[in-house]
């Protein structure tokens, strides 16, 4: 489209960007994730949420349940509940942490900052990608803290360091996929209050009706049927297999097989919800 109006003829400098390239999208995502991390570090309630709360869960669960449960655990746990608990509670912490993706996003939406982003020649996907990437970085920090406290409480990987790191990496990857689910929920909820209840509420039953804290074998048959087939159990079992060995898995499962199932769930969830949430974010401009 040609125009006799030269928008830059009047002393204004040419803006640096006319089209958004893939490289721009990566840069914008980094800029946005840095912005979100600053927020995480500066908001006291977020710092508490990311540090004290998960540590408290870890300590309480270990000492309150540990004594009663450790006798009934498979030998792969090495006789200590902390070994069994650690892979599960890591995933649980990351899931709770991912809810911040939804809440933070809705805070931006109602606060009007998203209007600013929408009026800029930036990559549309970067608002969401920056949020999920920032949350992943925060989760790495939370995870490190959890592992340190876990070691103090006596946690030892029964396989190898490689197994431990692989388990942690798998949990982080899963949390990243869940962040995209949370982004979608945030865009649906539209305000922080709705996001708070709408997101945390479903997480509770999903986390407890899984193998996060205990083997599923003692659950009533209908609950066990659900627990054994939901993604959280698959991911926790895979992480547990990597950290404690095949003996920690339900009979008939191999570590490799369990890891593949967990990865399939993770990739599927991540892809579907990334596509859905970015489309929703774009469509919001109507």
């Amino acid at each position: 489209m040609t125009s006799t109006v030269d928008p830059f003829a009047t002393g204004a400098a040419t803006p640096a960007r006319v089209r958004v390239t893939a490289l721009d999208a990566v840069r914008d995502t980094l800029v946005m994730s840095r912005r979100n991390l600053r927020r995480t570090v500066r908001l006291p309630q977020l710092v508490v949420f990311a540090t004290i709360q998960p540590v408290m869960f870890l300590v309480l669960f270990n000492y309150v349940f540990g004594g009663a449960i450790s006798q009934t655990l498979p030998p792969a746990a090495g006789g200590a509940y902390i070994n069994w608990l650690m892979p599960g509670i890591i995933v649980q912490t990351l899931l709770f942490g991912a809810s911040q993706t939804a809440i933070g996003l809705t805070e931006d939406l109602v606060g009007g900052v998203v209007d600013r982003f929408r009026s800029l020649p930036m990559a549309r996907s970067a608002v969401l990608a920056g949020r999920t990437l920032g949350d992943l970085v925060r989760n790495v920090g939370v995870m490190t803290l959890m592992l340190l406290i876990g070691f103090v409480l006596g946690f030892r990987a029964q396989t190898s360091w490689t197994g431990l790191l692989a388990g942690v990496a798998l949990a982080l990857l899963f949390s990243y996929a869940i962040s995209w689910v949370m982004a979608t929920l945030g865009l649906l909820a539209k305000n922080p209050e709705a996001a708070q209840s709408g997101v945390l509420l479903p997480i509770f039953p999903l986390v407890f009706a899984s193998s996060v804290f205990l083997p599923t074998t003692t659950m009533p048959w209908w609950l066990q049927a659900f627990a054994d087939n939901q993604p959280i159990t698959h991911v926790v079992n895979a992480a547990r297999g990597l950290m404690l060995g095949e003996g920690a898995l339900p009979a008939g499962h191999s570590v490799t097989g369990q890891v593949l199932v967990a990865l399939a769930w993770t990739v599927a969830i991540g892809l579907v919800f990334a596509v859905v949430s970015v489309a929703m974010y774009r469509r919001a401009v109507q």
């Binding site: 489209m1 109006v5 830059f8 009047t10 006319v18 009007g112 401009v285």
Partner: protein, 346 residues
């Protein structure tokens, strides 16, 4: 000559902002109901209207935040719907509510925006210093924005809108909630920007502001641009016209007293039609006259619910025209304000 949709402004200049037949509905609400607008480059254009008139909706469409239900919008020759990214490089937006980040410092906020415009880290840092100084926030640059006052937030928001040196700037009620001293400063800033070649589209509910800043003014009400022209033209339109007011009988005396005071002419009561008729003051260029314009055009004063029907009939009496006696400051030869309804299809 191919300009944005070939739109020519009232001054005969090609338009930098061209709005054609824009309709925006939210469910049953018709927020914009066929708006046509052509803003020439390098001026402040004042969009004047009461609450709910559709000012913010129009700005949001122009800023690519909303899509029009129908109609076309071009900014600096770029279609904002078809080519939103290109349009975004040419615009700056300071919305009705400051869109800044409380948990970043002022400097971090602006640098982030600079980076998102595509500036390198170094360019962004340099530009940030410039705009922060420009809005007088250099001192507070390293404080978290959540500690800023409302006025400081608005200025930071303005700074953010200037980072990309946009040729077109939208300011949605920039002085709402701003104290008089800061308002004067902001006005000065807008004048500086325009002197530097920026085109500013500014919405306001205050006639004083439009009168002071805007070279052209459009009055918008219930989603329609009811009249537009230079400030003087608007007053001239009224200058030769007759204002008709329907009043409840028991308020007739009060109405006559009030009108006599602002109009400087004795109002006549048309008993047959139960209407008060008064000749609007010729060539008056005071704010009170501007308020009359507003009242007569929208049927209700700024920010208030419509009273019993007050109608203006610009055509029912001789229009203010060059040659006709008019007060000081009148520019002979300027086209008279055109009631926008002339060009409107309903």
């Amino acid at each position: 000559m191919s300009t944005a949709q070939g739109a020519i402004t009232g001054d005969g200049a090609p338009a930098i902002i061209a709005v054609r037949d824009v309709v925006k509905t939210f469910g049953a609400v018709r927020a914009l109901d066929g708006v046509n607008l052509a803003v020439p480059p390098g001026i402040v254009y004042g969009l004047l209207g009461p609450n709910g008139a559709g000012k913010t909706t129009l700005i949001r469409i122009l800023a690519t935040l909303l899509r029009p239900t129908s109609g076309r919008v071009e900014v600096a020759g770029v279609d904002v719907v078809a080519n939103a990214t290109a349009a975004r490089t040419r615009i700056g937006l300071a919305g009705q509510f400051a869109a800044v980040d409380g948990y970043q410092t002022g400097r971090e906020n602006i640098e982030m925006v600079g980076r998102l415009y595509g500036l390198s880290p170094r360019q962004a840092r340099r530009r940030t210093e410039e705009v922060l100084d420009g809005v007088d926030l250099g001192q507070a640059a390293d404080r978290l924005v959540r500690t800023y006052s409302g006025g400081m937030r608005r200025r930071l928001d303005l700074a953010a809108s200037l980072v990309g040196r946009p040729p077109v700037l939208y300011l949605d009620e920039p002085t709402t909630g701003i104290d008089p001293a800061n308002r004067m400063e902001l006005w000065g800033l807008v004048e500086e920007l325009v002197a530097g070649g920026t085109t500013v589209l500014l919405t306001t509910q205050h006639l004083e502001e439009a009168d002071r800043l805007a070279a052209r003014i459009g009055v918008i009400d219930q989603g329609q641009l009811i009249v537009e022209g230079t400030a003087d033209e608007l007053k001239d339109t009224l200058g030769g016209s007759v204002l008709e007011l329907a009043t409840a009988e028991e308020h007739e005396t009060t109405a006559v007293q009030v009108l006599a005071r602002v109009a400087g002419d004795e109002p006549a009561y048309d008993a047959e039609r139960a209407r008060l008729r008064v000749r609007a003051p010729d060539g008056s260029r005071t704010l009170i006259a501007a308020d009359d314009v507003f009242l007569s055009l929208t049927g209700h004063p700024t920010g208030q619910a419509p009273p019993a029907a007050a109608e203006a009939h610009p055509g029912s009496a001789p229009q203010g025209r060059p040659g006709q006696p008019a007060g000081a400051g009148h520019t002979p030869g300027g086209p008279a304000a055109r009631p926008a309804s002339e060009g409107q299809r309903r």
